[in-house]
């Protein structure tokens, strides 16, 4: 008895891994991430969407150059979200935490701040990917109708939107590296009491 086509088919998990490897996305955080797992998965899907936009834009000189140029920012942001998720579940050394936090790594307020910081990073990534996808579509439509000035103007508009989104993304990263205006540090786990109070006040009411 010979094996049927189903036996020869590559498992979907293997195929997904091959695609992720081919896209050269940063390695996923190891182990269970708990509630941070779906957040990281959403961010990874956004990076895949960005890659799809790069594939769609094809050989268009400006569009391809822009998206290729911004790819490292997407990759860094995904890597960063992964590190934030790992840190949030307490698998990285809490060297930036205060002595009190080291004694209590599962502080609920720390969890809330981490969740908020991850969400903010995800939102920034989503806005960047949205702009990239819209620009790729505008490029495709402008290529179909090259005589349309409106289409060309639309490409320019989306290129500007993409640049703004990149600035926002990088600005967010800079903010997160230091203490942000909401009092969180790079992993969203604040080590200053003022940050705790502000976030805590927001949470409680």
């Amino acid at each position: 008895m010979t094996a049927g086509p189903m036996a020869e088919r590559t498992p979907v998990a293997t195929r997904v891994a091959e695609v992720l490897a081919a896209l050269r996305l940063p390695p996923s955080p190891r182990g269970a991430l708990g509630e941070f797992g779906p957040r990281y998965a959403a961010a990874r899907q956004m990076a895949t969407r960005y890659a799809a936009a790069m594939a769609v834009v094809g050989d268009h000189p400006e569009g391809r150059a822009r998206l290729t140029e911004h790819w490292p920012a997407i990759r860094r942001q995904l890597e960063r979200i992964g590190a934030m998720c790992e840190h949030a579940v307490g698998r990285q050394p809490p060297y930036r935490r205060s002595r009190r936090k080291r004694r209590d790594p599962y502080d609920p307020k720390a969890r809330q701040r981490s969740l908020h910081a991850v969400h903010q990073a995800v939102v920034r990534l989503e806005r960047m990917v949205d702009a990239a996808v819209a620009m790729s579509i505008a490029v495709v439509l402008a290529g179909i109708d090259p005589a349309s000035a409106r289409r060309r103007a639309e490409v320019d508009d989306w290129v500007r939107a993409l640049t703004d989104a990149l600035r926002e993304l990088e600005q967010g990263q800079l903010d997160d590296d230091g203490t942000t205006d909401d009092g969180t540090d790079d992993d969203g786990v604040g080590d200053d009491e003022a940050g705790e109070d502000r976030v805590g006040n927001a949470v409680t009411g």
Partner: protein, 233 residues
Amino acid sequence: MTAKAVNQAKAPDRNTPDRGARDEAARDPGAPDRAPDPATALGSATALGSETALDRATALDRADAWAAPVGFGFWRALYADCCDAILAYDRVVATMPAGELRERLIELRPELPELLDQAWTVAELAAALFPAGPQRDPRLLKLLSEDPVLDLRQTIQDRPPDPGLRTALFGIREQLWRVAEDAGRLAWHVRENPHATDLTAWLRGLADGVAAARAAGWTPVGYDEDERPEAWS
């Protein structure tokens, strides 16, 4: 072999390729600065439902709604609507009595898959770029709604910006259905009045409709000002 030994033997097969491939990519020193070739990478993803040019032509001719790799959801439904229009045209032609009119409608039929081909391409693009459909992924919105500090759902639009894919697909569907409805009206007209003398004009109108549909397939019917980046930002 014990059950534990079987599990140990199976475990590397399930996990190793995933971890190994990604770790290898992560160790690549040039990886962060070198952009991948997404067409190749995503091409291997679409190879799950790999299709050749011949398969595509056959699927288009048969108006097979399940042949296009457009996911399961909004884009599939929209593409299936386009296929339904061609199948409706086929049913109209099948019900017509043999004669010159039927022959003319059969002559027009090979031009419709070309239009469906455009719908396929647009739907495929849309499914790749908007896998959750034209709306924002509800799973993402749910995650953001769980934010303990702010409702971050308000910081992104309910609908990701789309400068024209959805409108283009709606336009192609409308054109295809217009052709099918014109054919249906023509068939009804012939049934009602077999000796009608204005059939030539009707046929000409139908042929013009097909030609217009082919020409306008790529041109969005409307233009949504809300999709402008200024409105989005």
